[in-house]
Amino acid sequence: MSTKIEKEEITIKFAGDSGDGMQLTGSLFTGNTALTGSDLATFPDFPAEIRAPIGTLAGVSGFQLHFGSRKIYTPGDECDVLVAMNAAALKANLTNIKKAGTIILSTDGFDKKNLRLAKYADGENPLENDSLSNFEVFKIDITKLTREALKDSPLGTKEKDRCKNMFVLGFLYWRYDRTMQGTIDFLTQKFAKKPDVLAANIKCIKTGYHYGDTTETFTTQYKVKPAPLEKGTYRSIKGNEALVIGLITAARKSKLSLFYGSYPITPASDILHGLAKHKNYGVKTFQAEDEIAAVCSAIGASYGGDLGITGTSGPGLALKGEAIGLAMMLELPLVIVNVQRGGPSTGLPTKTEQSDLLQAMYGRNGECPLPVISASSPSDCFEVAMEACRIAVKHMIPVILLSDGYIANGAEPWRFPKAEDIPSIEVNFKKPIGEDETYFPYERDEKLVREWALPGTAGLAHRLGGLEKEANTGNVSYDPANHEYMVKTREAKVAKIADFIPEQKITMGVEKGDLLILGWGSTYGVIESVTKELSEEGLQVGHTHLRYIRPFPKNLGEILKNYKKVMIPEINNGQLSKVIRDHFLIDVIQFNKIQGVPIMKAELKYAIREVLENM
């Protein structure tokens, strides 16, 4: 009989070769965890190369899951449990395991070749020496057990070995006292057309489960109680999924056709894939020949009356710059989604970074201010997507939406809204006019917004373009005073958006005090949880997190004044810090991490303490 131990929170990392199916194992375990009512956050860590050589450090693919019976803000700093399918996976993650943590090893991944590929010295084998003596280590010959379990299966050895991850999953289901039915249902659907593969997968899950149950080495099972989440219906959501759903919802709520022009780029491609699957929602996807064509097609679509959207990552945003400037001059709605990744140039395509705030703010020729908004968590992407569309349509302007690789692929539980509770987005196309009337394409309303006049509307024939326009008529104008007037008007138009966005709020900690932690984007979780813990210790810290970066919420200046100091943690070299200094003429303390990975709680906490101690 095993004993059951209750835990408040657990962090598990699945690591293996890209071919070991660790991403699938991780997501299935996550889905299963969500159903138990835990709160959770995940962080997939992809290898840079799709087909990195098998067994090498470069080929290690990881998936980290943090779940608990309290509110979970981050995927966890260090893990309680590491599952390592081979020597490289162990080596790459060894520094990330908690003291006295658990390591589950697949021993067959530690043969001579694997050790050499993982760059262990000749004769050195972590399974045999005492390098792991500070951990609880379980060595399991997963390959052997899997093959044994499948000895009657008609599958080839290679295919049988592909079921190893299901053995791992089954074993963990036992360890965390879970049921397997949901996963079996999922597999049944997934492999409906491959009965042999299905049978093998199910067999391996069960074998893994029973292995835990019957092998006497394993005496302890762990249980995590449900988290005190708000009552409601939940689903698990990744950032890119939430963007897809948010964009489609915005199109429905504005009664516009969604047009998505995009060119494949990591980590934004899943938005294109996700939208392309939803053609029955009237979604038009256009895989363009390049980034520039992608944005230009979206501009053309908006000109024609669709909700034109383009998505990309940093390098693509650079290519789109000129066209975004055109859209800004045309004063047409457009949403540019940038799922940021490590830069500059090709940079670190599979790694996360808050790399493009300055590019989004300033990366175009001429005076070209645009609204910039950012998503702070996977589920927040849903609301931010709708908000971007709302602003674009209401203010006739291109909106840049910043997400990043971390929230794009990370998952969390989401208490999703009902469609009928989501407010609609008002769209007013310019109505046809009679022959005795004149249409002025650049006539503006009190928001300084011009009307959306669609080709095909009687009486409104007009010409738009990237050349400077004369105010009101929209005719080409080289008049010096007019140019200055138009530049100022376009800037004022962006500034006016501040009248239509919510005020900035402190989400955690004190409203007035020693230190304000100001963040934007994917650092929300880590800042929020660190601020919570430090506040509980009685420290005078507060956290506020920006969704709207241009324009800033009107009260942000007031909030900044309520603290003695302001600290800005960012996964970059200090981009928001520059903007805040420029905008408010105050100094800020930077906390920057530029390693392609999220900020850890411990390091941020340490930095904040240091600031507070020296105040």
């Binding site: 759903i245 919802t249 055109l326």
Partner: protein, 339 residues
């Protein structure tokens, strides 16, 4: 298109036309306005999209919907527009620099996708707006401000590119033959799919006479061949010359001196892909002693389903298969749980 009684001048705007006096663009503008009137186009249902360059000022002078976009990208803008509203008559105005240099990629892709739009490529073999640098269609050894010792680049052959991209309508005309241009514009407009019409256009400021061999009375007949579907390929001062195929090789024959009659000549067939490929290759430099005449007219025309129609068909098919998307289902996804 609704019937109306518009005249060519009704398609003009109140904006001053800013091309240099004598520029070939004026003729193109006049023919387009005339043809639009004759074809009873509704100005409210026409959108003209251009890039950057002298030619790309065109939309400002047409009393229709129009967009002067950015350099080279008009095909991409037009693609989005046509997909958003397939009922519009969409025209892309581009030039040799705009369409074949900075925008070459987009031209290739719009042609292969075959959206139902019209492309007018004004070829003047020079960069006019930036004041006279050689362009991708300039002949080798062109002396310009950027190539004081002569240009090195072999010129682009626009129609061969169009054929290579599997365009469904490929034609050529010239600014100095209004009647022919009008006929070509009408054919372009009637074509279902992307029509590609190259227009030889004289830039009298920076490249005067680039096409005079083909457009000037004195030399036109001997150097240009006007294609007529079903008719033999004849040219020359008195139609005394013709082209026959010697195996796979086009051969110029003299109907008076050589022992050939019109029956022996190559009969033009717009639907013949292989012959059209060859015609597009009639691209000899007329400065050579011997050269094949340059073809004008419709080299190739075929039917292929239009991109936007298929795109819409896929949406309808998806709705038929899965039913019209339900927002609540989308938001909830496949697995949910209660807390």
């Amino acid at each position: 298109m609704t019937k109306n009684n518009l005249k060519a001048k009704d398609f003009a705007t109140d904006q001053d036309v800013r091309w240099c006096p004598g520029c070939g663009d004026y003729s193109i503008l006049a023919q387009v306005q005339k043809v639009f009137a004759e074809m009873e186009m509704n100005p409210d249902e026409v959108a003209i999209i251009s890039g950057i360059g002298c030619s790309s000022r065109f939309p400002y002078y047409m009393n229709t919907y129009g967009m002067h976009s950015i350099h080279g990208r008009a095909p991409a803008v037009a693609s989005g527009l046509k997909i958003a509203n397939p009922d519009l008559s969409v025209w892309i105005i581009t030039g040799d620099g705009d369409g074949l240099s900075i925008g070459g990629n987009h031209l290739l892709h719009i042609l292969r996708r075959n959206l139902n739009v019209n492309i007018l490529l004004f070829n003047n073999q020079i960069y006019g707006l930036t004041k006279g640098q050689y362009s991708p269609t300039s002949e080798v050894d062109k002396r310009t401000k950027s190539t004081p010792m002569g240009s090195l680049d072999h010129p682009v052959n626009p129609l061969a590119i169009a054929m290579g991209a599997d365009a469904t309508f490929v034609a050529r005309t010239m600014d100095r033959d209004p009647k022919h241009m009008q006929a070509m514009l009408k054919r372009s407009n009637l074509h279902q799919g992307t029509s590609f019409l190259e227009i030889y256009q004289n830039c009298n400021i920076f490249n005067d006479g680039a096409f005079f061999t083909f457009t000037d009375k004195a030399t036109k007949k001997a150097s240009a061949i006007f294609l007529e579907n079903g008719q033999p390929l004849v040219f020359g001062e008195n139609d005394e010359k013709g082209i026959r195929l010697d195996g796979w090789k086009p051969q110029v024959v003299d109907l008076e001196k050589d022992n050939y009659s019109k029956e022996d000549l190559w009969i033009h067939d717009e639907s013949d892909l292989y012959k059209a490929q060859m015609l597009a290759r009639f691209f000899d430099d007329p400065r050579q002693a011997e050269y094949l005449p340059r073809p004008f007219g419709v080299l190739y025309a075929t039917e292929r389903v239009c991109y936007e129609d298929q795109l819409i068909a896929q949406l309808n098919e998806a709705i038929e298969q899965k039913g019209e998307g339900d927002l609540n289902e989308l938001i909830a996804g496949s697995v949910t749980w209660e807390i």
